[in-house]
């Protein structure tokens, strides 16, 4: 029997509508959803052909408990009673990672468990590794940490500025909508990226700055706008503060000096600034309407030791030009994971409650009244700090849901050493991945295709997730597992177990909506009738919000913050390690690869980690296309397959952070962090690259190992 289920794609933050066709209880085919407003009938290779991981034989089907050194099958009661007993002894030395791949409902129940039962705010998720600098900067300068525009605004814009992002690989359906804008409406395109991404083919201006010089570049654009008097004076006067002090800081250098710092042409820098501030109107723009510009950025901005400064410099540009709060303009930190927006909205961050509400004031009291017990009011540890503080003994037990930090943390050998020191580690996931191998208890969770819930995409649209197949094995939805555990522990810590007696995801969502002003008007019933709704949606009759900041910023006035270019990166090339390593992602794999390594066609398409190197460097190193090469940093080594192309600058190599054939870029990356966001500097470290020499047969017969501390 064939049936169809309308649900939401589990890969990136675009949040495409996906229709799963099932035949005889198995997923047969994933189709696009013509009426979904975010994807408009499109999908990419992962959404269309990459969901078969759900039924892979590697799926965990039963809880596992470590006995005598081995992980052995256990019943849910055995496993959860054991976890409850152990975790009770680690209150105060406990941290938890939530999953941006799970639903809003899963995230909400988990943060409630951590705050109420474990009595700590040590909860965080992968936003720490992707857009925490953007969120820090936006919260400080504007008062909201979300994408301000909708995807529709990319098509309504007269200019698109893409900085440090590669939508063609990482947000393919957004890339299609951007290509549509350029092809059909003549929208101008500015691409800023050291790597030549596919969209650069269509760019009017393509800037390739030296790695780590972003602040100088955006200050240079600001200087050019001021020189040309293209700033929006009315917007600056009415909507912002701090302009004069910021202006003084920017005026300390000329456009030529800024351009020289970045290694780009001053004329092109001026042209990019002009297009952003005042683009020619796109075809079909109503007469008299001001042409808008959308500014979109990705990890190329954030994953630096000065990531927050980079984001600030971009927000300053948006405030300077008034490219906010109208159709066809806005700022977009492009979200990497399907529910990274929602996981933060639901409160899985250490320094605020659901809806980014501060602990201060009466907010915490409202939560305490609703939950019938006290919650801690000091900010908790951020994800990267939880890991680094294992060494000091501040964190002795962790509960990791739907994340694989031993693929995603920087300097993996160092991270693995820390995770091995934990007294107690619980991992809740689909597969027995690298982190799960170290766990004391492993709990099998349902995938997106087996559960009810909601995801919130990059344009703040809350969309339904619906079960297409029955749970694999005895796996359970994440929220149900955590709620069950919480009920076992609650009476021992003075919490009413009925606080976790949810009968359905809808009930969880209703509680979250009640406590979160921006979601208050949304309910599963409405989502069923109307499809996805974009927050803020403050009351049931509200239609949702296409773009933010129309009349005011949540903090009142937008704040200019002066930023200056600092050292480009913590570790720069030298004689021993002469190349800059830039990490990122590829179209055919999903992040670390825990999921996509289990889709045969995706592995066929890309079986080995590519090491992308410039032809001039390749010639010097004697490397040809397709050679196996070894990349070394001060922290580790990896091997990959050489791809020789001038898409990367001379002196730099690009390696995606997917792990294939036991080789991963994060063995190389540097565990230094940005303040205040604590994001690692994934985008720049120093490496050397050489062609792999054949090894004697007796050495190659052993299984591959990863070398440590080299």
């Amino acid at each position: 029997m064939e049936s169809k289920t309308w649900t939401t794609c589990p890969f990136c933050g675009v949040g495409c509508g996906i229709v799963i066709h099932t035949r005889g209880g198995r997923m047969a085919w994933a189709d696009d959803d013509p009426v979904n407003p975010s994807s408009r009938g499109m999908l990419c290779v992962k959404g269309r052909f990459g969901t078969r991981f759900v039924q892979h034989p590697d799926r965990l089907t039963t809880p596992l408990v470590r006995r005598g050194g081995e992980l052995e099958p256990a019943s849910w009661d055995e496993a959860l009673d054991y976890v409850a007993e152990r975790l009770l002894t680690y209150r105060g030395r406990f941290g938890s990672f939530a999953s941006a791949k799970a639903t809003n409902e899963d995230a909400f129940v988990q943060q409630k468990f951590v705050r109420l039962v474990m009595g700590t705010n040590n909860i965080d998720h992968c936003t720490r590794l992707c857009h925490s600098p953007s969120v820090e900067a936006m919260l400080d300068q504007l008062g909201s940490g979300a994408t301000s525009n909708s995807y529709a605004d990319y098509e309504d814009a007269s200019c698109l500025v893409l900085v440090g992002c590669d939508p063609g690989s990482n947000h393919p359906v957004i890339a299609s909508r951007m290509r549509r804008a350029v092809d059909d409406y003549g929208t101008r395109l500015v691409v800023v990226n050291p790597k030549r991404i596919d969209l650069a083919e269509r760019a009017d201006v393509f800037l390739r700055p030296l790695p780590g010089t972003d602040v100088a570049l955006f200050n240079g654009m600001a200087r050019a706008i001021l020189d040309d008097e293209l700033e929006d004076r009315v917007f600056i006067d009415r909507r912002t503060e701090g302009f004069n002090a910021w202006r003084q800081a920017v005026m300390t250098s000329t456009v030529e000096e800024y351009a020289a710092t970045c290694g780009v042409s001053a004329a092109e820098l001026r042209e990019a600034a002009r297009l952003y501030a005042s683009p020619p109107p796109r075809r079909g723009l109503a007469a008299g309407e001001r042409p808008g510009s959308c500014l979109a950025w990705g990890m190329g901005i954030t994953q630096h030791a000065h990531g927050t400064d980079n984001a600030r410099a971009l927000i300053n540009l948006a405030l300077l030009t008034g490219q906010l709060g109208r159709p066809g303009c806005g700022i977009s930190p492009l979200r990497g994971q399907n529910n990274v927006q929602g996981c933060g909205d639901a409160g899985c961050i250490p320094d605020s409650l659901p809806g980014y509400q501060p602990f201060a004031g009466d907010v915490a009291a409202i939560f305490e009244e609703a939950w019938g017990a006290g919650i801690p009011r000091e900010p908790g540890l951020k994800a990267t700090d939880m890991v680094e503080r294992i060494a000091a003994g501040d964190i002795r037990a962790m509960y990791v849901v739907g994340e694989n930090p031993l693929l995603s943390e920087p300097n993996l050998a160092h991270a693995e050493g820390l995770f091995r020191q934990l007294d107690f580690l619980v991992v809740q996931d689909l597969f027995l991945h690298e982190t799960a191998h170290l766990a004391h208890v492993v709990l099998p969770a349902c995938s997106f295709a087996e559960k009810d819930g909601t995801f919130t995409n990059s344009e703040r649209r809350v969309q339904r997730v619906r079960p297409a197949i029955p749970p694999v094995g005895s796996s359970r939805p994440d929220w149900a597992i955590v709620a069950d555990l919480a009920r076992r522990m609650a009476p021992r810590v003075g919490v009413d177990p009925r606080q976790f007696a949810y009968s359905s995801g809808a009930e969880v969502f209703a509680e979250m909506a009640r406590l979160t002003p921006q979601l208050r008007g949304i309910s599963w019933a409405r989502l069923e009738d109307e499809g996805g709704i974009q927050w803020p949606c403050p009351e049931p009759g509200h239609p949702g919000t296409r773009y933010l900041y129309a009349d005011r910023f949540p903090r009142g006035l937008g704040k200019f913050v002066p930023v200056q270019q600092s050292v480009p990166a913590a570790e720069l090339p030298d004689a021993d390690y002469p190349f800059v390593l830039n990490t990122g992602r590829v179209l055919y794999h999903w992040h670390g690869g825990t999921i996509t390594r289990r889709v045969a066609a995706l592995v066929d398409q890309m079986p080995e980690v590519p090491v992308v190197i410039n032809p001039a460097d390749a010639t010097r190193q004697g490397i040809a296309e397709g050679d196996i090469v070894i990349v070394r940093s001060r922290r580790g080594r990896m091997s990959g397959k050489a791809v020789v192309t001038d898409a990367v600058r001379e002196g730099s190599v690009f390696v995606p952070f997917v792990k294939l054939q036991e080789s991963a870029a994060n063995f190389l990356t540097n565990n230094v962090y940005d303040e205040p966001s604590r994001i690692p500097e994934y985008k720049v470290c120093a490496v050397c690259v050489e062609k792999k020499r054949p090894r004697p047969a007796e050495l190659t017969a052993a299984p591959p190992t990863v070398s440590r501390d080299r």
Binding site: D31, D32, M42, V45, D58
Partner: protein, 213 residues
């Protein structure tokens, strides 16, 4: 506007109105995601005395539509018979979501399905691990080209050649794997036959991940 004697709102195209009433007429080259192409001519209806393709004729200004009038049905059947001569028999494989439309159109209009494979235009491109292109089943409706160009704005495929030599191709003499195709699969979803079809599932296949599982 009235369709087969039933009143209907004249919004969009005649095809929209016909489908809104639940009347099944074939429309092989009209995909939900794409603007009308008007290439396959299988959605012919009689509108105010003229035989037109319903997919790209606006409903506004039309009064009386007959989907099954003797003239419309006769011409539609003739078009479907010509279509049937363009491709081979139904392959023993699962197709994409629209792959049964062609066969349903033949059955509905009393047209015999082709029994023997074609001798020309018989190439098979299975270079992509995600889908294959079997020219045997192609009716040159252009849905795939439109999906690639107008929906996804990639432009990896086109129709090369004319007459009996016309063929859907990713560049000239290039396989899908070697082209700029990103395997988004919009062409596979839009194909109303088995020509572009997803690669079959490889059940129980263990992937080479040493140290896991």
């Amino acid at each position: 506007m009235r369709v087969d004697g039933r009143d209907v709102e004249p919004a969009g195209t005649i095809l929209d109105a016909v489908l809104a009433l639940g009347i099944p007429i074939p429309h092989l080259c009209k995909d939900d995601n794409l603007p009308p192409i008007g290439a396959c001519r299988t959605c012919l209806v009689e509108a105010d005395g003229r035989v037109v393709a319903a997919c790209h004729t606006p409903a506004a200004g039309v009064d009386e539509v007959y989907t099954g009038s003797e003239r419309a049905a006769r011409i539609r059947r003739a078009v479907l018979r010509l279509t049937a001569r363009m491709h081979g028999p139904e392959p023993d494989a699962e197709g994409g979501p629209r792959s049964s439309e062609l066969w349903a159109a033949y059955d509905l209009n009393g047209v015999e399905r082709p029994a023997s494979p074609r001798r020309t235009r018989g190439s098979l491109d299975s270079s992509s691990p995600f889908f294959s292109f079997d020219e045997q089943a192609c009716i040159l409706c252009g849905c795939c080209v439109s999906a690639c160009q107008q929906l996804q704005h990639i432009g990896a495929i086109g129709i090369a050649g004319t007459g009996t030599r016309a063929k859907v191709t990713p560049g000239t003499g290039v396989s899908f794997a070697a082209s700029i195709c990103t395997a988004c699969g919009s062409c596979v979803a839009a194909c109303p036959t088995h020509a572009l079809r997803p690669a079959p599932e490889r059940p129980g296949e263990r992937l080479g991940i040493p140290g896991e599982g």
